[in-house]
């Protein structure tokens, strides 16, 4: 780094300014390309009918911000229902996934254990292939999970990648710590619960977030396994109303004496509600995701 700055100092001032500025322009533009759509979606969800009509659809800043769209969407109906489904799937699914991933990663974290190598191979090999759409469907059907919430959880409950991330963390725990517990008479389960889990809170939180994001975003599993629209998670509802442009008004209960909020605002409100959980957890995710993913890919 020091050398980089030294060579930079040796170049003429004009070139340095130009050098710095085209880089800034590219980076600022890239960032704006990500930010502006978000701003516009959020702004439109708060805009009123007059502004939307005047602007022709989308706005970048709501002049008379109103919560009418959110009140309408959250007062009941299919959107609220789907949010509840998604929250349920995410909470229950993440709990199941994290518990079984911890168990699997812990079981694979001791290289001299019985059957270690074949078991590890079984887990690693799943990274190389996917069973395919139709075989997965037949499996879920065979287990009688079609049209149940379990179909959105169990088939995707374990991700080998997350197992590897967690395993490599467990393997870095100092052996002395585990030996000390063993001398004190702790068995493997007690060691897991009293030593391994408490010192691995960070990686467990990261893996939990990975799973939670995957469950919240799950679209494919629901499309495949759920026919009953009342069981749809929020992503399918977003598809129906925003991507396929089905009218939202019919689904939104209107309070007496109120006009329905503009279609565009309702749609954007649905979109915002489906993104908010991700945005809330993003700072945590962002902090750990890359390091976790990297350690997994390199050590795995």
């Amino acid at each position: 780094m020091t050398t980089l700055s030294r060579t930079r100092q040796s170049s003429p001032l004009a070139r340095r300014v130009w050098n710095g500025s085209w880089k800034s322009v590219v980076l600022v533009l890239s960032c704006l390309l990500v930010i502006i759509p978000f701003v516009s979606v959020v702004a439109t969800s708060f805009a009123d009918q007059r502004q939307i009509t005047e602007s022709g659809g989308f706005v970048l800043w709501p002049t008379h911000p109103s919560f009418a769209a959110y009140e309408a969407v959250l007062s009941g109906g299919v959107v609220l229902q789907s949010l509840a489904v998604s929250i349920g799937i995410t909470v229950v699914g993440t709990a199941i996934s994290v518990a079984s991933t911890i168990g699997l990663a812990y079981g694979l974290s001791r290289p001299n254990a019985l059957g270690h190598r074949p078991l590890l191979m079984i887990v690693l090999f799943t990274l190389l292939f996917a069973p395919g759409i139709i075989p997965s469907y037949l499996m879920v059907q065979y287990l009688g999970l079609l049209n149940t919430y379990w179909a959105l959880i169990i088939p995707v409950a374990i991700n080998a990648f997350n197992v590897i991330i967690m395993r490599s963390f467990f393997m870095d725990i100092p052996q002395e710590l585990l030996d000390a517990a063993r001398i004190d008479g702790a068995n493997d389960l007690q060691i897991l619960l009293r030593i391994v889990i408490p010192v691995s809170k960070a990686v467990i939180a990261v893996v939990a977030l990975f799973y939670a994001v995957a469950y919240w975003n799950s679209f494919f599993t629901a499309l495949l396994y759920i026919n009953d629209t009342s069981m749809w998670p929020v992503q399918l509802v977003v598809r129906t109303f925003v991507v396929d442009s089905t009218s939202v008004s019919a689904e939104v209960p209107v309070q007496p004496g109120q006009t329905t909020p503009p279609q565009q605002s309702l749609k954007m409100a649905i979109l915002v509600l489906s993104v908010i959980p991700i945005l809330c957890f993003y700072p945590f995710l962002q902090k750990h995701f890359s390091e976790g993913a990297l350690s997994g890919s390199i050590k795995g």
Partner: protein, 339 residues
């Protein structure tokens, strides 16, 4: 692993993971040479709790990754859901014959898949690398962090959200066209237009995932030994030469790793991304192998034929990963795994 016994014996004595979890009551009473048997028993007594903890996760993993592979047998059947696998007629290779005789829809799906995949590797792959190099040359740590966090965010959004956002921005009633209309310019039809679909899909993929790949490259860049740059500078290497001789060789491992992962996915281009937009642009432009399997199999009920397509796709995918990994070894890289 010095204490490990013969793998063959282990496989026989460890409770079969495909069928049941390693429960304590599972009995490791396989006939084995007495000495070894004692050793395995001793290790079983020592490790059964560990294996029991591992059990539920392993069962889930095997149940939904390996067991479904058996379902591929319907590729050799005229499968009817109401008859099930046991009672459907076996038709041998008939489904495969239909495929290889040049079914128009399959051909279209294969061609679209290859086009989109090629574009994704050729166009999309270098962009995050360029962004990472650019960001890496910025010295202010703070700017780096902010830019990273912003560019990386879309990776966590589902395709439903990404497609929705693109429609809201670039659709006929979207922000850009509205603005063009307001200044009296011509609008352009980008969303829902088969002619521009490839460009749209590419843009979406870049928007969503460039930041994510960039982070991986940045991490690899930070691991490059800084002394190499100093040595190169002392030798009079220009910035460009430093890039070519120090930076790129330093992150070659990561580039190869990401390329291998991409190659394995060559035949599975974003199912969710495409299926979401099929109604708007039509199948001619947007049908790929995965969406064909879904549309023709699960929706239209041609189970056997679609399973055959999926089976071939899966086999080619595994072969490609293995080949790419082999190639990586030949070029002296670690690749995805080591044999």
């Amino acid at each position: 692993m010095p204490q490990t016994g013969e793998p063959v014996v282990l496989e026989r004595t460890v409770p079969r993971p495909t069928t049941r979890p390693a429960e304590p009551e599972a009995d490791p009473e396989a006939p084995a040479p007495p000495a070894r048997r004692v050793r395995v028993r001793a290790r079983w007594r020592r490790d059964w709790l560990l294996l029991a903890v591992l059990g539920p996760g392993l069962v889930l993993l095997v149940l939904f990754n390996y067991v479904p592979l058996l379902g591929n047998v319907i590729a050799f059947q005229d499968y009817q859901p109401y008859l099930g696998i046991e009672n459907s007629t076996w038709v041998g290779f008939e489904n495969f014959q239909v495929l290889f005789s040049g079914d128009a829809r399959v051909t279209n799906a294969v061609i679209n898949t290859l086009i989109i995949s090629t574009i994704q590797i050729v166009v999309i792959f270098p962009i995050p690398l360029a962004l990472a190099l650019l960001l890496n040359s910025i010295l202010a740590e703070r700017i780096k962090t902010v830019v990273q966090s912003i560019l990386y965010l879309p990776h966590f959004l589902s395709w439903v959200i990404v497609v929705s956002i693109f429609q809201s921005m670039l659709g006929d009633a979207g922000l850009v066209n509205t603005w063009l209309r307001s200044i009296g310019a011509d609008t352009f039809s980008f969303v829902g237009n088969p002619d521009t679909f490839l460009a749209l899909v590419t843009t979406q993929s870049i928007w969503r995932d460039a930041g994510w790949s960039m982070i991986l490259f940045l991490a690899a860049l930070s691991a490059v030994d800084q002394q190499l740059y100093e040595a190169a500078a002392v030798d009079g290497a220009s910035k460009l030469r430093q890039l070519w001789h120090v930076t790129l060789p330093g992150i070659r491992g990561m580039i190869v790793l990401l390329l291998i992962l991409r190659l394995g996915d060559v035949l599975s281009v974003g199912f969710e991304q495409l299926i979401l937009q099929q109604d708007a642009v039509g199948l001619a432009a947007s049908e790929v192998i995965d969406t064909y399997v879904y549309n023709n199999g699960i929706v239209a009920g041609n189970w056997g034929l679609s399973a055959a397509v999926g089976l071939i796709k899966g086999i080619i995918g595994v072969v490609l990963v293995l080949l790419a990994n082999k190639a990586a070894h030949l070029f002296g890289e670690r690749g995805l795994y080591q044999s």
